[in-house]
Symmetry: C2
Subunit: 456 residues, 2 copies
Amino acid sequence: MTKDSDNKKTLYGVSQETIRALEEALEEGQESHVQALLKPLHAADVAVVIESISPALRYLLLNILRSHFHPDILSHLDETVREEVIEQLGTRAVAKALSGLESDEVVALIEDLDEDQQKEILASIPELERGIVENTLTYPEESAARLMQREIACVPGFWTLEETMKYIKEGPHLPEKFYDLFVTDPKHAPLGSVSLSLLLRHPPSTTLHEIMDTDIKRIPALMDQEEVAHLFQKYGLVSAPVVDETGRTIGMITIDDVVDVIEEEAEKDIMHLLRVTESDFFEPLFSTSYSRIRWLMITLLNMLMAAFVISQFQHTIESMVALAVLMPISAAMSGNAGMQVVTVTVRALATRELGGVNMSRAIWKETLVGLFNGVFFGIVMGCIAAFWFSDSALGCVLGGTLVINMVWAAIGGVVLPIVIEKMGMDPAIGAGPFLTTTTDLLGFATFLGFAHLFLM
Amino acid sequence: MTKDSDNKKTLYGVSQETIRALEEALEEGQESHVQALLKPLHAADVAVVIESISPALRYLLLNILRSHFHPDILSHLDETVREEVIEQLGTRAVAKALSGLESDEVVALIEDLDEDQQKEILASIPELERGIVENTLTYPEESAARLMQREIACVPGFWTLEETMKYIKEGPHLPEKFYDLFVTDPKHAPLGSVSLSLLLRHPPSTTLHEIMDTDIKRIPALMDQEEVAHLFQKYGLVSAPVVDETGRTIGMITIDDVVDVIEEEAEKDIMHLLRVTESDFFEPLFSTSYSRIRWLMITLLNMLMAAFVISQFQHTIESMVALAVLMPISAAMSGNAGMQVVTVTVRALATRELGGVNMSRAIWKETLVGLFNGVFFGIVMGCIAAFWFSDSALGCVLGGTLVINMVWAAIGGVVLPIVIEKMGMDPAIGAGPFLTTTTDLLGFATFLGFAHLFLM
């Protein structure tokens, strides 16, 4: 969060004044003024403009941009808005725009489209590029191969730096910009890497073998993108070769391809814990509503079960209405305490801080924290309830309930995500709802049950 | 989340078998075996080992590693564990280890220490490096200057590529590895950048002026690190010059410095929404317990206020105990629906998707989604309640309550974070608790209040 965000926004990016001026120009149909306003903007900022304005103005703006649509704008658009834009521009105009991009960017853009659109666009791009893109699309979504670019600088290790520099100067198949050369063996398997700055520092007669860094991480084409991001982060990688099953180099991934994955993955886990989807913000009204309802159904079922539990104790409540006043407390406290544990555990699993070896220690620690906090809040709330209703037995029941429920919340909060992950499912989606269901039911059942046993 | 995480973990990183073998060797005091096991590991993996084993074994391991402690291990350690390690190693040993690092890494390591430790360590590192580090520490925490490295390749634009290449070969003050050269004017202000791959592709007589890319982003030294991360992500930057107030280049930030900030910031916002701190996982028992209690106190106060609201309706509940059964429903539904909106809004603010221009549209959209979902769940729950207790008036009261509360949850969920950010505070911390307080109180008050008005 930034405190002086207004200052910062004007340093780079589009100012609100520019957007307002553009909105006016669009409303009044001043096409040339619109183009003049957009001209100095970076593609990323044009994307911001397209996202910010209303759908009606967006339609007008795209009509103006259509004939010379910069492909980078597409890469910068939010997924939901991008689909809308592609729809309006039509596959032919999009295909034309795509021809200016590198293979990994083309893949990133068209992999989200439906099959018909993909086919139409692929049919309109040059054959060589089409082959590369089609081949990449045969790899599963979210795999390393989908992230990689095919353009890679591979050289044999026996080359001298002089030969290498000559190759770079003349080599037609090299990426536009690159930072590391990869040394490969005759079978095209990566042996090491040489950073360009190193290349410039050694005498021209040195061979690559002598200066290459052999501590490289080979990324299997099928590795999950989250795992790729984790490797880049952990080992501080800048680029890494991607290899197929036979160990042959088929492309490379650079850190800038990984940056978005890193944010995406950190965001995804926790947005699922809070029961929203990642693309929520730009989604149209009804699909937002639908996806929220889907998640809220869990809360509804939860609360119906809780209501059923409470209804079993109607007579108890009728004879001591203070129970109705206090009964939401233990469910809420243990629910929140449990979600804290779930959050920490899900992130620790995702960042690999929590692994096989330290699991039992983590479970043990959380249990103790839960016990400690349960006793703390049990005493606090027990005393408050005892004084409030001048009934020490009631205080003891509430206090005891809180201890039991918060210990369960702690154990469940750390064990459930671990078990769900071991079962091959996503703990970020499953653990939260499952845990709060148990804390709600247990919260009401133990409090009202104990009250029925000890106070009636 | 990964489905076959066991497979992947063994590809790179430490296997559980290695950690177990190491634990055994430590327990049996086989120092040479411990060293043999650690030798093939990357510093990042040694850090994982140190984090994974129990504090007792950690103590033994550090005693073995002390004399030749690799400084990179420190950079890879979680903050909580790192402090423990520095404590045990002692400032002298740490200072010795630090001399192997670049200035930005030294800063990153010692900025978290307390002042006495900082002074002791600074006193033990070489004078030149000390000056650089001390100067960097005068910049505020989380500023761009703290992220940057001082080592940067700056060259005048009139140089030919031949001269530049000669300078790189002989230049003693250049960073160890770098990807871009920055062209600066005589006052040392950045004019453009030249990627090394470009340098190698043009004839030696070309001047840098001719090939440099002038579309660079100058990062002010005081810019917030979150803003820096945002710029790198938005514009796909790989490196950028950092300038002081006079526009002079004082260092550079590369994308690998930014990667951790990106994850940190995405994580921080949402962890605060779920009321845990980021460093929670490795914190010792009591400080975890303390920080969780702090956040849970909000829930406690919340629930006490809710209990007070309920207690105002004791007579109503006594005469119609079905109210006790149904009353948690609307608070829970609107609380969860509101947190969905808060989550989406906080992330949209953080990623700048939500700005001045589209705010009213976002508020309007959320209100409509809230109304729509409120009506949906109002009808569903109203019917269920009417049938369950054979009381259609009760069903109407519950249904109407749900509509009102979910509309408020939607409006509050989008407006509160915006207002809190406008006030210069962090919406991730404030918005959630504030909203759930209102949804809880309003949830109980409207349901019981309407019941009192219409059903008594």
